[in-house]
């Protein structure tokens, strides 16, 4: 297979950011303390749908240490009761008259300390008149359903209809196919559950007129602009500082009511205001992920060639469309669902629906709905293979987009940049010993033992995105890097992205080191302070390497161009006679006549060409020409306990191709973490609401995160197919594993049970779900 020698060959450099975390000296939001700081807590609605009849805060205000109470009516007067969402819908900060999900913020209270604020919450009397909640899209779309959003012009619970592809041709193609498999797939709602919850410290300084908000945000600049538009405060007097983040996974992108409330409280009281969510606050109100009901159909010939794909999706968005999607794509990149296969005919439609649940939708490493898309196509592909009596790996090999077909224009309009799918699948099969496993499976099946092998081959789509197609609230999705070199050859670089644990302080330094030769130890990376960092759209959807990573290389190369001119000046030769060699320019053919990048750095301030601007600094705002398309081959082996229905993941091999890798160790860490966030929804996590709107999974007692005991030893491998349009051929990888893993696990369970008549299974795959299947098939122990 082809492996282009990577432009970067640093391998697993130890992370620069680790020392402070290892010493317990990280700077997370709850570590921030400002003089005079007070605490904000929130009264939340016990009802999923109710009119707020009255609020009596007298007893709370009488409690010593309580400073203020904020209600929806207070915000209404300031035009802040409702704020726009990232999808141009609107959401409440606090209700003026009606609450729309259980756990919704109803009243805010501010007190001198955290404990007094917590005491004040139960003292605030709120009267509710319960209304009928609408808890499923089916109920929401039923005729005569209560309106979740009577404030909207349309008098039903629909949000949007979005479609792409060839409707009639797809219908004809499916009708004309030898075989069609259809699946009704429900991917339930899940919550990112980073170990650190959301929070902020809002600090309004009336003497300067400046509002600073320290905030758990993955997108500080976008948030600053939104705050400016929403509050009317001048944008240059708003500063958002995103500190060390204890995980994000998309859950730290939205503007949460708590941020607005803290800002309002700070403005009102003239003191810094801290708000930190409890875990249960987070589980009942933060941005959800998934909640897609898909009717997915795949057609093929008897010989196993895919003919067409059709997916109809109902998307449960909660009470507001606050999904953090690029504005033209209310279903994100869902139309990547044609996947890794060469198929010409496809049609997709997505209908968004309101329900009485919290808003959100783009989170949990979904890469803008790519998890949902890949789940559909990979479950369909595997099922089609079984249906046709073909080995699932062979079926995929038969239908793959071939290496020579790249760049490949998909039936639904994406241009895939590069790929070598057959090589990745072959490698995964070798790593896991696929043929031996099939033999073992046959032997076990003859003895009545249940063993399954499942494959998932995903094509991801990341790096949003080119300005002609992508924007969030109008803000184009470029990203940035500003590199400033000091006279003594030390570097400070700032970017518009924001790490939540992905190791940016190391990887961006590695890129600069590779381009300019500065030792990694001499390079400092900063993100997150909107006063100093160049504008960017932040880190989510695996976009940092494709956008800011590219900007870093571009800025560094511009510096190298300037360095060349300075070197020529110092060496008294034409720059055309100079050769770059890792960390220096030398005269062509005369290597002993050189100037190092450090020499050049100093000279940029002390001895530069007479016509040149002094200093040594470059900024790049990178507008990517296309997205990038990482891919991977995942194979999962499961064993099922016939007595209890428990599924054990015995082995899991993940071969990922994210183009050139900056830091092998960091990439592998992203994959291991991502696979675990693929295991979790497959077997353990789902948000459960009863029909009265009560959230039943509002703590970690019942919202189950896997521990080290549930998590297998992930086996990872790599192929490298660089992106042709990226400055150093890299693609981004943060979410690949979460995207690719669930179908492999689902397919493995279905494979184990196929001979019993099982064709599909929805996640989470609980032991009782499996046990019911075994009982029905008469093979339960």
């Amino acid at each position: 297979m082809t492996t282009v020698a990577p432009a970067l060959g640093h391998g697993g450099v130890k992370r620069k950011e680790d020392p402070r975390f290892l010493q317990g000296k990280g700077n997370y939001i709850d570590d921030h303390r400002l003089p005079g700081m007070v605490y904000l807590d929130i009264v939340r609605s016990p009802y999923a749908h109710a009119r707020v009849t009255h609020i009596n805060a007298e007893a709370a205000l009488a409690l010593p240490g309580v400073l203020a109470v904020i209600t929806g009516k207070d915000l209404e007067a300031a035009g802040l009761a409702w704020i726009p969402t990232l999808m141009s819908d609107k959401q409440m900060v606090l209700p003026v008259d009606t609450v729309k999900f259980q756990g919704q913020e109803v009243v805010a209270v501010v007190a001198e300390d955290r404990y007094t604020a917590a005491d004040a919450v139960p003292l605030i009397e709120v009267g509710y008149e319960p209304l009928t909640p609408v808890m499923t899209p089916e109920k929401a779309l039923a005729p005569g359903a209560p309106l979740v959003r009577p404030d909207r012009d349309q008098k039903d619970n629909r949000i949007f209809h979005w479609e792409v592809g060839q409707r009639e041709e797809t219908e004809r193609a499916l009708q004309g196919s030898d075989v069609v498999v259809t699946e009704e797939i429900y991917i339930p709602r899940i919550m990112t559950s980073a170990i650190e919850t959301n929070g902020c410290v809002a600090d309004w300084q009336s003497a300067t007129g400046k509002l600073t908000i320290y905030m758990t945000t993955q997108a500080p600049h976008a948030i600053r602009t939104v705050f400016a538009l929403v509050t009317g405060l001048p944008e240059h007097l708003i500063r958002i500082v995103s500190p060390d983040l204890g995980g994000g996974f998309g859950g730290k992108v939205p503007v949460y009511p708590g941020y607005v409330l803290a800002a309002v409280a700070s403005l009102k009281l003239g003191r810094p205001v801290k708000w930190i969510e409890d875990r249960s606050d987070n589980l009942v109100s933060a941005s959800f992920a998934r909640d897609y009901r898909m009717t997915a159909e795949l057609g093929a010939t008897n010989e196993g060639r895919i003919t067409a794909l059709r997916i109809k999706t109902i998307a449960d968005h909660g009470y507001s469309d606050a999904a953090a999607n690029p504005s033209k794509f209310p279903a994100g990149m869902f139309h990547i669902c044609t996947g890794s296969y060469d198929l010409k005919t496809a049609f997709v439609e997505v209908d968004g629906v309101y329900t009485n649940k919290p808003p959100g939708g783009i989170a949990y490493r979904c890469s803008f709905r790519v998890t949902e898309a890949v789940h559909a196509i990979e479950c369909l592909a595997e099922r089609m293979a079984h249906q046709l009596g073909m080995d699932p790996a062979a079926f995929r090999q038969k239908n793959f987009i071939q290496p020579e077909q790249f760049p490949y224009r998909s039936a639904l309009g994406w241009e895939y940049d590069s790929g070598n799918y057959p090589a990745a699948l072959t490698k995964a099969m070798e790593m896991i010993g696929y043929d031996d496993l099939r033999r073992e499976q046959a032997e076990k099946r003859a003895r009545g033992e249940l063993m399954g092998i499942g494959i998932s081959f995903f094509t991801e789509i990341v790096g949003a995105g080119p300005s002609k197609t992508f924007d969030i609230l109008g803000l184009k999705m470029f990203d940035s890097c500003e590199i400033r070199v000091h006279p003594t050859g030390k570097v400070l670089a700032r970017l518009g992205t924001k790490s939540q644990g992905q190791g940016h302080e190391t990887t961006y330094a590695q890129i600069i080191s590779e381009e300019l030769g500065f030792p990694i130890a001499d390079i400092s990376i900063e993100e997150g302070d909107t006063d100093t960092a160049p504008y960017g759209l932040g880190t989510y959807a695996s976009r940092s390497t494709p956008t800011s990573g590219a900007a870093t290389a571009v800025a560094a190369r511009r510096l190298r161009e300037k360095a060349k001119l300075i070197a020529g000046h110092l060496l008294e030769v034409s720059p055309d006679d100079l050769v770059w060699d890792r960390d220096r320019f030398h005269v062509q053919g005369v290597p002993e006549r050189f100037k190092t990048i450090q020499d050049i750095s100093f000279a940029a301030y002390t001895n530069f060409p007479p016509t040149m601007e002094p200093g040594f600094e470059m900024t790049s705002y990178y507008d990517p020409p296309n997205l990038t398309f990482p891919f991977g081959a995942y194979i999962c082996v499961v064993d099922i306990d016939r007595g209890t229905g428990q599924v054990k993941v015995r082995r899991f091999v993940a071969v990922d191709d994210c183009g050139n890798r900056i830091n092998e160790t960091i990439v592998e860490g992203q994959i291991q973490g991502g696979l675990t966030m693929g295991l979790a929804p497959s077997f353990y996590e789902s948000m459960i609401y009863d029909e009265d709107g009560n959230c039943l999974t509002s703590t970690f007692m019942d919202y189950l995160l896997p521990t080290a005991m549930e998590t297998p030893n992930w086996e990872t491998g790599a192929t490298i197919t660089p992106s042709p349009h990226h400055p150093f051929g890299a693609k981004g990888v943060g979410e690949s594993a979460t995207v690719g893993a669930p179908p492999a696990m689902v397919n493995a369970v279905v494979d184990a049970l196929w001979h019993l008549g099982v064709r599909q299974i929805d996640i989470p795959i609980t032991p009782w779900k499996v046990h019911a299947i075994l009982q029905e098939a008469g093979v339960a122990e």
Partner: protein
């Protein structure tokens, strides 16, 4: 009615006067200004708050500060000695056992207690020992490797006495 609470923490005697209901984790973070110990949940589930109390790993969110009067506490801030990393800190760094770092102090303290009681744990014993510490970033694979690294380092003969 506030009460004085005196503890020895990371070898130093510290004192504050607090309400009985003050959780030990808040006492450590806010009265003693040691913010390395973190809070990640409200049902004693996540282990981000793990510290050593009289040498045992406990979830400091489920102990009142008053219960720790006169006791010995160790937090992540107490791991380094004379500017040198403990082998566990080294292991987490070498083996990429942390990403966002939020669960890391809890993981370090739990694994310190593990290695003190069981210097040569098997992989299964390591996974069991950290089963009360949730991590969302790493998938645990490298955390296990980090602890194995430290166990080896601690077991190896050294020139000077290595405090465990």
């Amino acid at each position: 009615m506030k009460m004085p609470v005196r503890v020895t923490i990371n070898g130093t005697v510290r004192e504050a006067t607090v309400e009985p209901r003050l959780l030990l984790v808040h006492f450590i973070r806010e009265e003693l200004n040691l913010t390395g110990t973190h809070i990640g949940c409200d049902t004693t589930s996540c282990g981000a708050c793990a510290v050593l109390l009289d040498g045992r790993a406990v979830k400091s969110c489920t102990v009142f500060a008053v219960q720790a009067r006169g006791r010995d506490i160790m937090t992540v801030e107490g791991l380094m000695k004379n500017g040198a990393y403990h082998p566990l800190q080294e292991g987490f760094w070498e083996k990429h056992g942390l990403q966002c770092g939020f669960c890391t102090p809890g993981m370090l303290m739990t694994s310190l207690a593990l290695l003190r009681g069981n210097p040569h744990p098997t992989e299964l014993e390591i996974r069991e020992a950290i089963s009360g510490n949730l991590c969302r970033c790493t998938g645990y694979v490298n955390i296990v490797k980090a602890i194995q690294y430290a166990a080896e380092k601690l077991a190896a003969p050294v020139a000077e006495a290595q405090p465990v």
